[in-house]
Symmetry: C2
Subunit: 349 residues, 2 copies
């Protein structure tokens, strides 16, 4: 099925919208010359900005949206009152099959709620999940769920594994990605009924060959597996804990390198190598959280990112559109005949 | 109540026992001149080592134990077959009220199981929890549970909060420690029934003034609160994820500083400041996981630590003994009249 637009873009979402969105699209249009974007937002404002960005201007069509969903708006309010918002009109375009996907840097809760209700889940999926790519000692790692579902049962975890494995093949380009279930220990008897039941199903499934078994918190950054699968509560806490630890280390290093004249000089000498490290870990290179399991591609850019970061979120969405990601997920899930429809273990409350 | 020994020491637990245990005690005996230790293990081996450590020799009495619980032994096997092990005999001494506490660098699962069954929980406590102290941008932070209970209900979380708050007062010496419940967001409506019910009770409790509300993963290393309270599944994953992120950063910095001649030179210039940072983050300074909520002080040293790290685990245990930590926990829990005996929300499966 072909769409009129590759992606609908919420031009008004994020801290510095619409300017950085337009700057990001100027970069994205260069990287994806075939892409067509539906740019949704305040016609007058984005029209003026677009006129000064020649590549984006060629790739975009503007659709007017009079309202904006603010960062503070509750998801329920966004659903009720946001019908004329840029985010909603962009999402409507995906639901109407006019656009293959949507990218927004706006309110995360509102985007997840609107996407689930308007775009809807794939029929094979019980619950969509939020995924992201992050750096590890052995290359990029996909982790999910990062907070879309605080309560998950064994069936949800199995579905997340199938979606994550497919994502690693489609977007990271791996032939046989390895994946693991996050747990408190790596031995088979560790953890709760939920993770043990999910492990039993995965071991017997068509993707069983790539199943590493249980992994622990330190395995995420060690890159022990390509895909780390967990519930949204644990995944959200783990993601933010890891980010917090890296931030602590960066702040302490900044203090170290300004603590004395020799330390400052040392920094200058090591700077090219330190800059390469900073570039490698640049959060903009990992911008773009992906809501998997919907009838369309939905990517959330960080609200505070810049043009480079927004362009990266567009890259991720374009990869998923180009590789017919959702068709591949549906194919994968249809092979999971062993997953019973009812939860195998009670969901986390 | 006074005990014949401040602490019983499992002389045979850990990767380099009994040597590093004896070296650690030599340091500990200097720091705690009033302490008396019951040293449990192979009489011949530890007798010879003790003879060459004059301070430890004065502070220790040896009790023979013919067996050792190996690192691989399952907790159930340790319970059945470990009756003549150094770990078990040390724990028996706490249960008999002969020693106020125990320190072991041996098998964690066995230590937790033996301590729970032999030393037993305080009558006011439903489940003991594993706690540790860790560095943050704003000083030391206590986190619990780190894996003793993968399934926790609201009542467990409330008890963990009382124990953690008491620990921060007794061991970190804070007058009014702040504490928070780990969640996927800081707003009151975030998370599951379990954390919301626990938050409602804590807000109304006698320690309510110190309750910060919900905290997120990045708040752990930011030092937003003095005590981070969570279930054992999430806590274990968060702890190991944070450690993993710091390890990744250390490994990458090592690569940076050996990547070129100028970078090596830069390292040498910044080295005094980098060494101070390394010292500040030294895992040995944070060695000693504490099993809280038992009829005695139980501290687990990391199995691979050295004498300095083992001595630090002894410091933590001695602080708890000196400050009558368990009496203070019991006092705090007796004031928690609002906690119903039955779980308020279903436990995580």
């Amino acid at each position: 099925m072909s769409h009129a637009f590759s992606l609908a873009i919420d031009a008004m979402g994020g801290d510095n919208a619409p300017d950085i969105v337009l700057d990001g699209l100027e970069l994205a249009a260069e990287r994806h010359p075939q892409a067509r974007f539906l740019l949704v937002g305040d016609e007058t404002r984005i029209g003026g900005l677009l006129a000064r960005r020649p590549r984006a201007a060629k790739a975009c069509m503007i659709r007017h949206a009079p309202d904006v969903i603010s960062a503070e708006m509750k998801p329920t309010a966004a659903l009720r009152q946001g019908r004329n918002s840029s985010m909603r009109i962009a999402i409507d375009s995906v639901a109407a099959r006019e656009s293959a996907g949507v990218v927004s840097a706006g309110n995360t809760g509102a985007l997840m709620a609107l996407a689930k209700i308007v775009v809807k889940s794939l029929p094979e999926i019980d619950r969509p999940a939020l995924a992201a790519i992050m750096p590890s000692a052995r290359g990029d790692v996909v982790m999910l769920d990062l907070g879309a579902n605080v309560a998950c049962d064994a069936r949800n975890l199995v579905e997340f594994a199938v979606m994550g494995e497919t994502f690693a093949r489609a977007v990271l380009g791996l032939t046989t990605p390895s994946f693991g279930l996050l747990n408190v220990g790596s031995e088979e008897l560790k953890g709760d009924d939920r993770v043990r039941a999910a492990a039993d199903i995965l071991r017997e499934s068509h993707i069983g060959a790539g199943f590493h078994g249980f992994v622990e918190g330190h395995d995420i950054t060690a890159g022990t597996v390509d895909v780390v699968v967990t519930d949204g509560f644990t995944g959200n806490v783990a993601l933010k804990t890891g980010e917090g630890a890296l931030k602590l280390m960066r702040d302490l290093l900044r203090q170290v390198f300004t603590s004395s004249v020799p330390a400052r000089l040392g920094y200058l000498l090591a700077r090219p190598a330190l800059d390469r490290l900073r570039e490698w870990m640049d959060p903009r290179r990992y911008n773009g959280a992906i809501l998997l399991g919907l009838n369309g591609v939905v990517v959330k850019s960080h609200g505070g990112t810049d043009a480079l970061g927004f362009a990266h979120a567009v890259d991720v969405a374009m990869d998923m559109v180009t590789h017919h990601f959702n068709d591949r997920i549906r194919e994968g899930l249809s092979r999971l005949s062993t997953v019973p429809a009812a939860p195998l273990a009670p969901a986390r409350p």
